[in-house]
Symmetry: C2
Subunit: 144 residues, 2 copies
Amino acid sequence: MFSKACEYGIKASIFIALNSLEHRRVGPKEISKEINSPEAFTAKILQALVRNNIVNSIKGAHGGFEIDKKDIKTIMLADIVNAIDGDNIYKGCGLGLQQCNADKPCPMHEKFKLVRAELKNLLESTDLESLALDIKLGESFLKN
Amino acid sequence: MFSKACEYGIKASIFIALNSLEHRRVGPKEISKEINSPEAFTAKILQALVRNNIVNSIKGAHGGFEIDKKDIKTIMLADIVNAIDGDNIYKGCGLGLQQCNADKPCPMHEKFKLVRAELKNLLESTDLESLALDIKLGESFLKN
DNA sequence: TGTAAAGAGGACAATTTTGTCCGAATTAAA
DNA sequence: TTTAATTCGGACAAAATTGTCCTCTTTACA
């Protein structure tokens, strides 16, 4: 479904949000430990998230990653997925046709529309705040 | 969503079914032309479909690929996806957690369940016959 | 029985994804 | 002003996926 990079990116964003709610900066070492991902690869993904204005980085000693508190409730899963995997997963054809619409549909088109719509809804209606709060309350987890 | 191999495998199966309904065998050359896929790679995928008892192959002169007419309505998309990509796409966790369930859910678990259910329904309720008939009626297409 | 047409399968190559390492730049604090 | 803790970015490496090619075997038919 999502690439590994995207999975790590989503989990990292949630973990950073969780800490930013308490004014704590975190670095790749702590992040990769808490989301169970390879550290150097995670650092690369964090760079991409920074370039896409999803997280802020503070360089130098006492630096790290954070998300502006006011942004935590407006950043959606769709923003993160878009930044890393693009929108093909929730906008593209299930069989990879470049043109696939009601006029010239692939064989799965009608039924796949429902899957895509459900996924689109999930990504566009879920913000980082609600995800981070669930973690905080111990109602969901970032690793096994 | 699906791998390229799986996309080609689905399209190839539909095209073979379509032709088997009219007692015509087809080979990798014709298949790859009609589904717009690389021929040699498609041939490899056909081998996998044969090994998984989804299509039959007839070797030698006048050989080719076909699907038993009686099987065309009982082979589901899920069978093809399973044979090539496995079932993780419609059974696994959206964030890649090995264990992800109501007891220890990932942050997306609740909402992602709906996506997975919709996808599972699509794959398990769609048979090759209906897909092939749509193509035959000109109501859907295997390539642009 | 010879030959041409076809699938099977192994080896290989190209590309993409995943992952690592290291030097340079930046910054806080001693 | 030096030092240590950081992020950034490029180069590199490993693994997975995608794709190609060639030989062997099987088979129908002349």
